[in-house]
């Protein structure tokens, strides 16, 4: 019996060890590059939504776990991917960046929303999404649509967001994006507003 286990087990074990070694090498080679790509994609979208800011300091999810918890409950169904202090060249805070992932038609829509210190939305953009090409992607190809969120007051968050019409043929996607901006507004009102004057100042 033992002999049978050895005969079958050893080849599987050897293959697994070699495979694991190969993967470890690939992971080590690509790790930094993947992290850099990820950071770059986030920073690029944050710069789009907050043109005044030059650097973005992420609010630490470990140190400020309470903030993230409150943000998650303010966002409701929408996933919260990150909260950022937006700083200008001199290091003064000019606003907040919020990464959220509301549900769209083809899964979560990863997006960035900027809010200035007066609580006005400065912009919203999409980092990545899996929406139907030609339909859901209209939220990007109709270039005048996303800018309609600019200037919305977060104090009336959910209500003012609903004033932005959905796009015909992209109802679910535009509703998702609206929910994303609404969630960011709620996060600002419930969490970020009271954190003003924190470490970034």
């Amino acid at each position: 019996m033992l002999k049978l286990y050895m005969r079958l087990g050893i080849p599987v074990l050897v293959v697994c060890i070699v495979a694991a070694a190969g993967l470890a090498v690939t992971y080590a080679v690509t790790k930094d590059r993947i992290a850099a790509q990820d950071r770059e994609a986030k920073a690029r979208s944050l710069r789009i939504v907050l043109a005044d800011a030059t650097t973005f300091a992420e609010i630490d999810a470990k140190k400020d776990a309470a903030a993230y918890e409150k943000a998650a409950s303010a966002a409701g169904d929408t996933r919260v991917d990150g909260l950022y202090r937006a700083l200008d060249g001199s290091g003064a805070q000019v606003g907040w960046g919020v990464l959220v992932a509301p549900r769209g038609y083809g899964g979560p829509i990863s997006m960035a929303v900027g809010v200035d210190r007066n609580g006005k939305v400065t912009g919203a953009t999409i980092i990545s999404m899996n929406e139907t090409p030609g339909l859901g992607t209209k939220v990007l190809t109709q270039v005048d649509w996303l800018p309609r969120f600019v200037g919305l007051d977060t104090a009336t968050g959910a209500d003012s967001v609903r004033k932005v019409d959905t796009i015909m043929g992209a109802t679910k996607t535009s509703r998702g994006v609206r929910n994303g901006v609404g969630a960011a507004a709620a996060i600002y009102a419930d969490v970020l507003k009271s954190m003003e004057g924190g470490a970034g100042q």
Binding site: R7, L8, P11, V12, V15, C16, A19, G22, L23, T26, Y27, T30, R33, I34, Q37, A41, G107, S128, N130, T132, P133, G134, L135, G169
Partner: protein, 216 residues
Amino acid sequence: MKQWMKVLKNGLSFENPLTVLMIGLCSVLAVSSRAEGSFFMGVAVMFVLVMSNVIIAAIRHLIPEEVRIPIFIVIIASFVTIVDLVMKAYLPSVYSFLGVWIPLIVVNCIVLGRAEAFAYHNRVWLSVADGIGMGLGYTIIITALAAFRELFGGGQIVFLKMTLVTLPAFYRPPNILLLFPGAFMLFGLIVAGSQALNRRMAAKQAAAHASVKEAM
């Protein structure tokens, strides 16, 4: 060499994984809405196919038959993970479009099917030909389907941020081409077309064979 070419051509025509064997279709219907993504999906599948075929053919005498499937899966999954990591690092835009379909290559019937049906019984050299042939057969069909859907359903083809073709503005792209029903219908037409082509090729080969025999 002659046999090598024959194996390679088989993957493109008489045993094309998509139009004849009809395996690995879900990924085709799902990602063939953009030519760029489909092309890289094809390249990824081809890489995994060739590499897993090579390894499996090379160690086929050492793999006990009872545990061959787990071993195949470990080998295939490793190469898929390598593709996954490399693509995430160097082609992030393509990666975000393909999303879950890259990891899903592990369970793509083409790869496991070729490991089981070909690489486990053939020499390394021929298994390379099989991998390339099957991979090319997959890539060509999926990219052609995607290029058609993107062009006539979206109005233009964009490849690595370059716009290759744009249709004039008066053409109003029918959205159905970009949705799943459109993919099904177009794929049916592609299958019909390639069947006709294969039949004609087979008839020609049979005729050539017959005339050789007559001459002898």
